[in-house]
Symmetry: C2
Subunit: 412 residues, 2 copies
């Protein structure tokens, strides 16, 4: 173990400078306001949880959990998602609140990527959970809200791919009964979106002609409404069929929301989160190679905390959206007010007045006028009155500059 150097931060975490923070906070505000418009109310859970409770129940695979030892030797996890903590709250503090519960959050989450440079160990998620409603309406609501949230965040172009874990499990169970390893190999290819590998594995399995055709046909079950109809024609058992009917109903509701254009049905989609039990989805922005949101139905998680209930939700990967989001920055007009001691009160009153009007005002006391003016300020500051324009002074840009000095009655 080598000692960290002077300014070193732990690997995978970063500092955000004002421009990035302003944008991140703008996205956060727009998205949370959107979620509030759909009746979702914010909750806040701790950054740290016990590994043995929320850690184990979380969706994050064990080796990606950010585990730490506290001074008593107990394993602590830095929260890896907010879904499991919300399940804990729904089952404890909110246990007497009737369903459905609509909750939202904006929080930093953590992954153990310390060994992998370039992966983020801490990032922000903004999401919702809809707990206590098993219906296709509920699943459609969270997808429609994900779409509304991506729009609110200013993501200019995106698609949502929707699949169903229950359908995939049914299909593989029906076609490859008792062959757990073969099922896992195929699912792993789907998870990686490696269709070439999927076909290779299929070939190696030396399946009956009809089974081979059906499993290869899965790769073509991606598209719009017609996919639901084609999937219903498959010779699958009732479980898989039920999953498809659920998706079809959901598709209809998405039509009523007017958002079908943003949605693809993709029956090869397998959520990478272990607790999903039904519909799962991911959102892709056209400029990015990774999902900007993911979600799905998790009907078994709440039971782990003692209050069994169906649930569905999603999280936006807020930090990742920084690159693509086009949100207005709402930058205030910036003013600089410089003053000599004798006119301090006037100058600070002027500052207070401009702040009340919404300007961002920096004040600076100076010994005498001319002080520091040559140090980067240029002639602009010597102008006889406040002027609109763009002035650079000590590394900052100002739209307006006022000078209160001893020489005259009015600011110059």
């Amino acid at each position: 173990m080598s000692k960290p150097k002077g300014f070193e931060k732990p690997i995978g975490v970063k500092d955000y400078l004002p421009h990035a923070v302003a944008k991140l906070r703008r996205i956060e505000h727009e998205v949370l306001t959107c979620m509030r418009g759909w009746g979702y109310e914010q909750i806040l859970t701790p950054t740290i949880e016990y590994y043995d409770t929320v850690g184990v129940a979380s969706a994050t695979s064990d080796q990606k959990l950010f585990k730490l030892l506290n001074q008593r030797g107990t394993t602590i996890v830095l929260r890896s998602d907010v879904t499991a903590p919300i399940a804990r709250v729904a089952s404890s503090l909110l246990k007497d609140h009737p369903f459905p519960l609509r909750l939202s959050y904006h929080a930093n989450v953590f992954r153990a990527f310390e060994e992998e440079a370039g992966r983020e160990a801490e990032f922000f998620q903004t999401g919702v959970e809809l707990i206590g409603d098993p219906s296709p309406e509920a699943d459609a609501e969270v997808i429609a809200l994900a779409i509304a949230s991506l729009k609110a965040a200013g993501v200019p172009s995106f698609k949502i791919a929707v699949g169903h874990v229950g359908f995939l499990n049914g299909l593989f169970g029906d076609t490859l009964p008792g062959r757990a390893e073969a099922q896992e190999r195929l699912k792993e290819c789907l998870l990686q979106r490696d269709y070439v590998g999927y076909r290779t594995v299929l070939g190696e399995l030396r399946l009956e002609e009809s089974v081979h055709r059906e499993l290869e046909g899965l790769l073509r079950l991606r598209g719009g409404q017609e996919i639901c109809e084609r999937a219903l024609e498959l010779r699958v058992s009732e479980g898989a069929r039920e999953a498809i009917r659920h998706l079809c109903e959901m598709w209809d509701v998405l039509g009523a929301y007017g958002v079908q254009d943003h949605v693809l049905i993709d029956l090869t989609m397998i959520g990478d989160i272990s607790y999903y039990t039904g519909m799962t989805f991911e959102g892709y922005a056209s400029q990015l190679g990774f999902p900007v949101c993911s979600g799905g139905r998790y009907d078994n998680l709440l039971a782990q905390f003692g209050r069994p209930a169906p649930a569905t939700g999603f999280a936006l990967k807020t930090t990742r959206m920084l690159e693509v989001a086009e949100v207005g920055q709402e930058e205030p007009t910036r003013a600089l007010i410089r003053y000599t001691p004798g006119r301090r009160r006037e100058a600070l009153e002027k500052a207070a007045g401009l702040r009340a009007e919404g300007l961002a005002v920096v004040t600076e006391g100076i010994a005498q006028i001319g002080d520091g003016l040559n140090a980067g300020a240029g002639d602009a500051l010597a102008s006889p009155e406040a002027k609109a324009g763009s002035y650079e002074y000590k590394g900052a840009i100002y739209d307006q500059v006022f000078t209160f000095d001893e020489k005259g009655g009015d600011p110059r």
Copy 2:
């Protein structure tokens, strides 16, 4: 070590339910907007830092640092304040940005109070740092901004007590030269605000009459402008005198800000933060027994990160202010829209329209009208049109209820 139980959270951390979160976020928004108005721009630093860098430089005493071991055996700290991380950023990412730097933050911070039930191990701070300006103007600016921030947060009544570490160190050094232990005992009493104990210790020290009188007189150096004048009359060395002159100038600037009414000079005040070098202050809300903000000048911290610079700043204890802050909650009007499948599209269009107007709208698909109406909804839901009022349904309160069913053309 006993295994944590079902829903247990680590000791000292808590969940915040929607009402509290709404208030906390409102305070956060108002305070950050206020800080932006004074030219301070937000930055964001990681939750975790290495103990050997930022941990050691932080203001928090070693036993209160939230220390954890990562999987490589390196000691990690959960951030205990944002001042030290900002010093790191000012000296690295922002090393080419000229001074002064005005930075703000809102962040959760951590303390190792796991053993002490009732103390908060995680809480929020909202604060600023003004780096690169040694003047009394800069100290007055952060105090005036602290006052503006407390007002923005809706704290109805508060006072700021201002002292000076340099004065205290000078006074004790002059009167008790070479008697480090005696100095420490007296300072400890001041830190605890235990004036009875202070007098007791003074008695035990058996000092010369004039020294005893001077040190006891310190306890009366609390008040307004007159304190500055009285302190200047003390027979202290140049260091302590310089400190008082700085305070007097600061007091004048606070007058120009028009905020002297909120400020007391209290020369017994000793910041509990080890890195303070000059003026220190604490804000007290009249209803609370603990400070709601604290700050001070720390001219030696930046040097630890390789960019020596004077600096001053403060942090509001945002979570603690929840109890006393009176901020408008900005609650949206809440509407419930229920619909049968045949009128889904109309109902969801109505919801979209109301959301665009700023309402919070919950929708619910129902099999047929009457469904669930008896389960807590009462007659209100059966009313023939949308009505303003207060309706309780499934644990939530709505201002308006709309029903779209098969029986008529209009919502009922």
